[in-house]
């Protein structure tokens, strides 16, 4: 017991590091641990649901897509590779991809009566306003809003229309009446700036 306790003292990061805890729960979930997956759900569900809701707009559809996303996360958990990103990033990637794919496939088969809603430019300051309480996912939203604030208006518009609006860069080009190449460059420059401002490291 003493030796075990000593080994435990070797922990280098703070014991309550939520990222390490989520990574660990995900690893356990990968071995079929449903309780660990439930803990992982509690940590990432607001990010997943919020992202999906932002893209699909309808709460009912967002719930349906979120349920599918978590089923996929569960199925893929044994293949999660920490090299390819933090658990929350991984969940957000899968959630956004699925939301976008759902919207695009639905829209190709029906009239886009919600076109105006989804194409209205998303202002950066609405980032803070659409979220629920600050504690919900432990994210520093003000930090993201500040980082977005440092982009040029054109970059911010291109990035938010693509990500929060779920549009392809070609669609963004149409919406902004701007050449596709220009939009591609704005998205790239915008993300490079965000990467630096947010000090994202992988």
């Amino acid at each position: 017991m003493d030796d075990v306790a000593r080994f435990r003292l070797l922990r280098a990061a703070e014991p309550d590091d939520p990222k390490a805890a989520a990574a660990n729960d995900l690893r356990l979930a990968g071995r079929g641990d449903e309780q660990a997956f439930a803990r992982f759900y509690d940590v990432v569900a607001p990010t997943v649901f919020g992202t999906v809701l932002r893209v699909v707009r309808s709460r009912a559809l967002a719930e349906e897509v979120t349920q599918e996303v978590f089923l996929e996360l569960w199925r893929q958990a044994p293949r999660y590779d920490a090299d390819r990103g933090a658990p929350t990033t991984w969940a957000a990637t899968i959630a956004h991809r699925r939301a976008v794919d759902r919207v695009r496939s639905e829209e190709s088969s029906r009239v886009r009566d919600d076109r105006h809603a989804r194409t209205a430019p998303v202002e950066h300051d609405t980032v803070a306003e659409t979220v629920t309480d600050e504690a919900v996912a432990g994210y520093d939203r003000a930090r993201v809003a500040r980082a977005l604030d440092r982009l040029t208006d054109a970059q911010r518009e291109a990035v938010t229309l693509a990500y929060y609006g779920g549009h392809t860069y070609r669609e963004v080009a149409v919406l902004l009446d701007t050449p596709e190449g220009t939009v591609k460059t704005r998205i790239r420059d915008g993300l490079i700036k965000l990467r630096d401002f947010l000090e994202v490291t992988t």
Binding site: A13, A20, R79, A86, T130, A162, G190, R195, T201
Partner: protein, 231 residues
């Protein structure tokens, strides 16, 4: 053509490519390391954008998800081969993972395994299910190659410091119940290649670690983790 593709990493990370372009870019990613790095970075940025728009889902959704989970089979894990070196992980990530793994330890029964020195390295190295794992550490390099099927591990190292008078290095297979002794070794002029028979409880470990221990080894680690890798 491929020049154009390099510039799609950002749009790809935002899911802003048409299906055709997405497929072309994913094919390009297979052999473009710089785009893989960009996608990882931009994906992390997208993750931040996602976190900034978090909304608590309805409580009933949690029950539905967990009900789904209870009756859904998972994918099989991807087994890495010897010829597929992984990207080196950042040490901060490793430390966080080490913390998480070590944090699991709870009153485990530790069994000392006898080590079988000297022979059979090739057998392990060429085993069909062999996995190789470079361990993160400051001095020299250590890698562990093991086969769950054979129940054996090989530790290969170079440039290692002398463990000191009356000391040896001890390899630990870290499983859910805690670290299991996997073998003792002393480098010869900094180099080592030794084969160990693994205790059945030490197969499929979550991580490998190496500590410096008194000669003869310890049933549980007493020194700092000098080398470490999460599986």
């Amino acid at each position: 053509m491929s020049d154009d593709l390099h510039h799609l990493a950002a749009a790809y990370a935002l899911d802003a490519l048409d299906p055709d372009e997405r497929a072309a870019f994913e094919a390009h990613l297979e052999h473009c390391e710089s785009c893989r790095a960009d996608v990882a970075d931009f994906g992390a940025v997208a993750g931040e954008l996602a976190g900034a728009t978090a909304v608590a889902p309805p409580a009933a959704l949690r029950d539905r998800v967990l009900a789904d989970v209870a009756e859904t089979r998972q994918e099989r894990p991807v087994v890495r081969r010897l010829d597929e070196p992984r990207r080196r992980q950042r040490s901060t990530m490793l430390l966080a993972v080490a913390a998480a793994v070590v944090g699991l330890i709870a009153g485990a029964a530790i069994v000392l395994t006898m080590s079988d020195r000297g022979s059979g390295a090739d057998e392990v190295l060429s085993a069909a299910d062999a996995i190789t794992m470079p361990l993160e550490g400051t001095d020299g390099s250590v890698r562990v190659v093991w086969s769950d099927e054979l129940g054996r591990a090989v530790v290969v190292g170079s440039g290692l410091p002398d463990p000191g008078e009356g000391r040896e290095y001890e390899l630990w297979a870290i499983v859910e119940s805690g670290p299991v002794p996997a073998g003792l070794f002393t480098p010869d002029d900094g180099s080592v290649e030794e084969v160990f028979d693994l205790d059945p409880s030490a197969t499929s470990p979550a991580a490998w670690g190496v500590t410096n221990e008194p000669e003869g080894g310890s049933p549980a680690p007493t020194g700092d983790i000098l080398y470490f890798a999460e599986v």
